[in-house]
């Protein structure tokens, strides 16, 4: 494939392509998860030896722990946890083993394991299928966390996660699965972990976007532009480590900042970003930091209650407007 060839594909297909490329390139790459030979593999893996694709029983803690054991003995496992809420069942091996085995053994091991979790919020699935658990894991030293918001980033960040020699959690927005764009076809295409991306340049207000909020942030920026307010829109792409420089550089251009995240308010990603701004960017601020996040209630089933909870084009624009 030529270096700059692209193909229009969905976010979901981009994730599948990333996985297939890495499985084909490296025979130590393996997959484990529920239903994966049917849903994820199902012919899509061509010549991959199916002993490397393990459709597991419903045993999240067990197979997440096994993936860690495989990772420290020469494999490069991809664990598909499907619905993000199920990551709680796997959180012991992720936190107590994957995140700290390298540290606790004085560097005797590396733990190249990827945990994928798909976030199904805003689709009438109620509170046990609608979580965005990344803030909890941002509090765990030893992990890395990415959350792609576009098909290209889905491919590039998942590939970077699989190739990384540390445990990486990949939080994917399920309602982006159908989103299409031109995606690089090069097997060498990766998006570096820890690097934010500026999607729109502006001078009046910074909008920091977390994960799938990006599309709403960009629409809000269009609305603001029509009113003569110029927004600088930055997609963080990685939550651990945060790209502090990108946040502060944008703030330096605008002096105003709105942080947008679908996750709950208390101790969320937005709270950490606000703290970084308060500690390192206080002198740059013309107005207080604003967060547009989900209130601290479990996600309800009825759409009449659910939809209003999340950041929207309107609420993001309103927050930015309030800082002018």
């Amino acid at each position: 494939m030529t270096d700059n060839a692209t193909q229009r594909m969905t976010y979901l297909d981009a994730l599948g392509l990333a996985q297939r490329e890495e499985l084909e390139a490296d025979p130590t790459t393996i997959m484990i998860g529920e239903d994966i030979t049917l849903y994820a593999a199902g012919g899509a893996y061509g010549d991959i030896d199916m002993k490397r694709i393990r459709s597991a029983p419903i045993s999240e803690c067990g197979f997440a722990g096994m993936a860690v054991g495989a990772a420290i003995t020469g494999m490069r496992p991809i664990v598909d946890l499907t619905i993000a809420n199920f990551i709680y069942l796997a959180s012991d091996p992720i936190i107590n083993q994957a995140a700290r085995l390298r540290y606790m053994t004085g560097g005797q091991f590396q733990v190249p394991v990827t945990f994928r979790a798909s976030m199904w919020h805003n689709q009438a699935n109620a509170a046990q299928h609608s979580d965005r658990p990344y803030p909890m894991f941002m509090n765990v030293p030893g992990l890395k966390i990415v959350c792609p918001a576009t098909p290209s980033d889905a491919k590039g960040l998942l590939k970077a996660a699989i190739r990384d020699n540390d445990p990486v959690l990949v939080f994917e927005d399920n309602d982006l699965w159908g989103m299409k764009e031109e995606v690089p076809l090069s097997t060498d295409f990766v998006v570096p972990i820890g690097k934010a991306k500026t999607h729109r340049e502006g001078s009046d207000v910074t909008i920091i976007s977390v994960a799938g909020c990006l599309r709403h942030c960009l629409k809000a920026a269009e609305d603001l532009a029509a009113e003569g307010i110029s927004a600088d829109v930055v997609d963080l792409r990685t939550l651990l480590p945060l790209d502090n420089d990108a946040i502060l550089n944008s703030l330096g251009k605008t002096g105003r900042i709105v942080i947008v995240d679908y996750a709950h308010r208390t101790c969320g990603a937005a709270a950490e970003i606000a703290a970084i701004v308060a500690e390192d960017g206080f002198d740059l601020l013309k107005k207080p930091v604003r967060r547009v996040v989900t209130p601290d209630v479990p996600i309800p089933f009825a759409q009449t209650m659910e939809k209003q909870l999340y950041p929207s084009r309107e609420s993001i624009a309103a927050a930015a407007r309030s800082l002018m």
Binding site: T28, I30, K51, R52, R54, A56, P57, S59, C61, G62, F63, A64, G65, M66, A67, V68, G69, A70, A71, I72, T73, G74, M75, P77, D92, P93, N96, Q97, L101, R102, Y103, M104, T105, G106, G107, Q108, F109, Q110, V111, P112, P141, G142, K144, D164, N165, D166, G194, L240, P241
Partner: protein
Amino acid sequence: MLQNDIGGEAYLRMLKIRHFEQAIVKLITAGEVAGACHSSIGQEAAIVGACMALNIDDYISGTHRSHGHPIGKGSDLNPLMAEILAKVTGVCKGRGGSMHLTDKSVGSIGESAIVGGGIPLATGAALSAQIRGSGQVALTFFGDGASNEGVFHESINMAAIWKLPVIFFCENNGYAAVTPALSTHGQPDIARRADGYGIPGVIVDGQDFDAVYTVTQEAVERARRGDGPTLIEAKTYRFDEHCVGLFIKGGYRTQEEMDFYMSERDPVVLYRATLLAGGMSESTLSQIEDKAVALVDQAVQFAKDSPYPEPEEAFEFVHANPIAIRR
């Protein structure tokens, strides 16, 4: 005869564990050890019997009672003792301590202070060995308490359906900390649970080295043949308290019971008698005993002579591909 082939080495490793643990008790009394220490005294035959049935490159995982496992697998004592004393020359460079004597050089992939945490690690190492076709097996040590964790069930089930080369080795010492196993299990024999997974379950006298070695060897051969996992339950006994220096009162076990095991069922004493009966001379046994003492003395000296890690070293080994960490 078994003891002529490996008996001397097995006896040495059992004695190394015994003296290593006794040296730690002295160091604790002298105020030279910080944190919790869990002694394996009383469980030496179970540990060494299991380890001697493995090759150096076979994997083991273990528990918070972590000292015996790497010693049983053949570790150098110096870095182990240095780790206990929190020295930079420790096997984990002072980041693990007593509950985490993980020594990759002998195939140890993790001593977990999360009860049951080592079980899926070894099962995953077995998956890795199976996919690579390396011929290695994995053995996971866990206690009677861990057999009630959900991950015990999940891991054995996956090992059974995928015929993974793994041995689930339960050191049943009768008590999860201070709670009797009989009060937490529906029936007393953990190995009988193997029936539920369609794999062999074996109960063995954990105070009898030869018996443990023999059943583990069979399980290892079965795993290497590709026939899958075995659940072994070694009935054993912990001579010290759950945690050395914890001084838990309350009589959760009787003096009569403790006296019986220490006087009648001491695995080191029993194995010495076995070796003697098998023809090993008193002088050979004495040489092994002296060697064990000397190696432990040397390890204590090495540990005492070693420096502590520098505070700044706390920031090393967090990631393989490092990220900036704010001080």
